[in-house]
């Protein structure tokens, strides 16, 4: 094992050293990884020069896993063990998957999320996504020649809490430090260089392989403020393929196909759709397993007719987003097209007609999200100090709780700027009641059964009192990633019982460790060594950050406080030198606690400074 380099305390390891960070577009059909090098964002290709990694995972005999083109090539031959479009199943139960019957997979329902039976055993969508992310991480580390500090992973803006949590869990499982979950349309807006002096309202229309998003952004002096977002997390290019597939079945009079043939025809359908972007008509040919030959011709007009309802289905969320942002089409300065599916000419026409202007398509719609994510990762990793931008994103769907009679009460309305917190007080219904059941939901509908259930938990230990006397305050905090944390306090007893509630479908740290052990046992990696490496990287960056803070704002500390923090820094340095994971994490945790007040004072100073500069500028 290589010796670890440790800088002398006080001479922190090159603070302006470029930190390797990537942006990952974890797509339904294709995934990409991009980074910023010498100031320019670029997609990292594989060893054959291909940028896209098909989001296809195949589980092979002997425990091997194939990801990407090699897996895609075998999907007709091995449909049960080759998973495509896994993104559609993220954070979803069996009941949510409408087209389940048409899929060649063997699903089993599991608590919180569906699982797929493969020859490698039951796999959750989180594990399958982690295999894709692992391949991208490997590609990045090979081509950048070092370990990544972190990654920005993009998610559809319309993803709910369950889908976001699943994505973050997949990244952790793949060993990635998630700097941020970034909404895909917002990432695209960054990549479009809309920060370069562009001001005004822009619409991002993002039709990917399996998800549709629309976001309305207001750009002011480097601030990207999302005004509203809407979409459909189960509508995308795949559905257009499916329409062509159904058309093929009808034209050829086919029914009851086996898994191999239906996968084959779906692939033909996708190729036909892509061909129609450039050509007025295309031929569809296939040889089925019973020897029957399929040979059909599909033209632009027919294609437009059979997919018209899908295009219309995307325009509804667009109107809804405009309404939520309280703007009309005339207020829109530009419309950005994102996602491979927006290459379809009739989609560009429909969007152009709605807004009365030609949509912007000058960046590759497949790459734009990954490029934007890379630019944001570069900022978050601390590589860009000046003239960076700020993203103010929103929560896409309202959060609420169940009240009497199966109704939801909204606590946080959709399109609220993140981060946001709301507290709600509850009381007991019966004399002597000591427990209370809380059901957290996400969605816009009035009935509990029409919303997504995020978490259900029981508060215990309420002091027995007469009905209505207890006061329990529950706080819902949604962070910048759009992820929810719930905490509860009992206010009357004087004792503030504080509990943290994680949504039930999220993976616990133990789950992650177990899955990591399972997957790493195969790769023969040393999990302990990896944990140590991670602890050292984290602790070193904490030491760097603390030293930089003291250099900049040390005057905010009393001599005692400074001495305390210096001692904490010393403990961390000693722990790193000792190469013991637990000691390093403990020392870092202590240092974090020691610097809490300092951190708050510095932020306050920055706010005051910024506001002063601001007021003078306005005079």
């Amino acid at each position: 094992m290589a010796l670890l380099q440790i800088a002398e305390p006080g001479l922190s390891a090159a603070p302006h050293q470029h930190r390797l960070a990537v942006g990952i577009d974890l797509g339904t059909t294709n995934s990409l990884v991009a980074t910023v090098r010498s100031g320019a964002a670029g997609v990292l290709p594989d060893e054959h020069g291909r940028s896209l990694l098909p989001s296809v995972v195949r589980y092979l005999d002997g425990g091997d896993v194939a990801v990407g083109f090699t897996a895609q090539a075998e999907q007709s031959r091995d449909p049960h063990n080759t998973i495509v479009s896994v993104k559609r199943f993220m954070g979803r139960g069996l009941a949510d998957i409408s087209e389940a019957a048409a899929q060649p997979y063997r699903f089993v329902d599991a608590p919180g999320m569906v699982q797929l039976i493969t020859r490698a055993g039951p796999k959750s969508p989180v594990e399958i996504s982690a295999d894709i992310l692992r391949a991208l991480k490997q590609r990045a580390e090979d081509s950048l020649g070092g370990e990544l500090v972190g990654a920005v992973i993009t998610v559809p803006a319309y993803f709910d809490d369950a889908q976001r949590q699943a994505t973050k869990d997949a990244a952790r499982l793949a060993g990635l430090n998630v700097l941020r979950l970034l909404n895909e349309p917002t990432a695209a807006a960054i990549a479009y260089g809309l920060d370069n002096g562009s001001e005004g309202i822009y619409v991002v229309y993002d039709l990917g392989g399996g998800t549709f998003d629309v976001s309305i952004l207001k750009l002011t002096q480097g601030v990207f403020e999302v005004l509203s977002t809407s979409g459909d997390s189960a509508l995308g290019g795949d559905d257009f393929d499916h329409r062509v597939y159904c058309w093929t079945l009808a034209q050829a009079g086919l029914s009851g196909l086996n898994a191999h043939d239906s996968r084959l025809l779906l692939t033909c359908a996708r190729e036909a759709k892509e061909a129609l972007t450039e050509h007025a008509s295309t031929r569809l040919t296939a040889l089925l397993s019973d020897g029957q030959a399929i040979d059909l011709t599909l033209d632009q007009d027919t294609f437009r007719d059979i997919t018209k309802t899908l295009v219309d289905k995307t325009l509804l969320p667009v109107r809804k987003a405009l309404r939520d942002a309280r703007i009309g089409v005339d207020d829109v300065k530009g419309v950005v097209m994102v996602g491979g599916a927006t290459r379809m000419p009739h989609i560009q026409k429909a969007v152009g007609d709605l807004f009365g202007q030609t949509p912007l398509t000058n960046l590759d719609p497949d790459k734009v999200v990954a490029l934007g994510a890379a630019m944001q990762a570069n900022v978050l990793a601390g590589n860009k100090q000046d003239d960076d931008w700020l993203l103010l994103d929103v929560i896409p769907l309202s959060l609420g709780i169940e009240t009497m009679g199966g109704l939801t009460e909204k606590i946080i309305p959709r399109n609220s700027t993140l981060p946001i917190a709301r507290a709600q007080e509850f009381t007991t219904f019966k004399d002597g009641q000591t427990a209370m059941s809380i059901h957290v939901l996400q969605g816009e509908r009035e009935l509990v059964s029409d919303c997504r259930s995020l978490a259900q938990f029981v508060l215990r230990g309420i002091p027995p009192m007469v009905a209505g006397a207890a006061r329990i305050r529950i706080t819902f905090q949604v962070d910048a990633d759009g992820l929810l944390a719930v905490s509860a306090r009992e206010l009357t007893s004087g004792v503030e019982a504080h509990i943290e509630v994680k949504p039930s479908y999220g993976l616990s740290d133990e789950d992650i460790t177990r899955m990591l052990t399972d997957s790493l046992a195969h790769v023969q990696d040393d999990i302990e060594a990896r944990k140590l490496r991670e602890a050292i990287v984290d602790a070193e960056s904490l030491v760097d950050a603390t030293r930089a803070a003291i250099a900049a704002d040390g005057d905010l500390l009393s001599a005692d406080e400074l001495a305390g923090i210096e001692a904490g820094l010393g403990t961390v340095a000693d722990a790193i030198a000792g190469n013991r994971t637990v000691a390093i994490n403990e020392a870092a945790h202590q240092l974090n606690r020691l610097t809490e007040t300092f951190a708050a004072r510095r932020m306050d100073r920055n706010v005051q400074r910024a506001l002063k500069g601001h007021n003078i500028a306005e005079l």
Binding site: R19, V149, G150, L179, R180, T220, Q221, V223, E225, L316, R319, K320, R323, V379, L380, A381, G382, L390, L391, L392, S416, T417, L418, P419, I420, A421, Q477, D479, A480, S541, L542, A545, T546, A588, H589, L591, N592, R593, T595, E596, T597, F598, A599, A600, R601, R602, M603, D604, N606, V607, A610, L611, H614, N615, E618
Partner: protein, 177 residues
């Protein structure tokens, strides 16, 4: 914790403590504060700073949301002077106001039954005008006359109109989407 959560929302954004407000100035002060405290600024910082940033950014967003809405702003100003608007418990209203409320409800119900989005949009515009008039009066009561009791009544009235506006919005949405 040094960050002064006790300072009022107006001081946070460096604005005068009054109902009349320059919306552009509020927007730009909010963006300035957000740019300092947003968790993205602390993505590679320690946990302590991350926690502080999350708390402060949440606080700044809440302050912005409160000041941006005329109803919430008036309610907040009254709260700062120790006046509780008691919107949930005090529902006694002048008879003519209640009559007008019933007429609004009927009109909304009819337009909804007729699936008439245009009629609903028209009602929303009328309601918006009425709300603007109430806001005008609130400005006078709070900033000029110092009539806190009068302002509290106006807040309760405005709350009614806001609920109606919400109802119209929900009705339009259920018809359109």
């Amino acid at each position: 914790m040094n960050f002064d959560f006790k300072q009022d929302h107006f001081s946070l954004f460096g604005l005068p403590r009054r109902f009349a407000l320059d919306a552009g100035q509020l927007d730009s002060a909010w963006r300035t504060v957000a740019a300092q405290v947003h968790p993205d600024r602390y993505a590679s910082a320690g946990d302590a700073e991350k926690r502080a940033a999350l708390m402060m950014a949440t606080h700044a967003n809440e302050a912005y949301r409160t000041l941006k809405s005329p109803l919430a702003r008036a309610r907040y100003l009254l709260l700062l002077t120790g006046v509780d608007t008691r919107e949930d418990t005090n529902t006694s209203m002048p008879a003519d106001f209640l009559m007008a409320q019933m007429e609004w409800r009927e009109a909304i119900g009819e337009a909804k039954d007729d699936h008439d989005v245009e009629a609903l949009e028209k009602l929303a515009r009328e309601l918006h005008r009425d709300a603007a008039a109430l806001q005008q009066q609130l400005g006078v009561a709070l900033d000029d006359a110092g009539d806190l009791d009068g302002a509290a009544v106006l807040v309760r009235k405005l709350r009614f109109l806001e609920k109606l506006e919400q109802e119209i919005g929900d009705a339009i949405e259920s018809l359109l989407f």
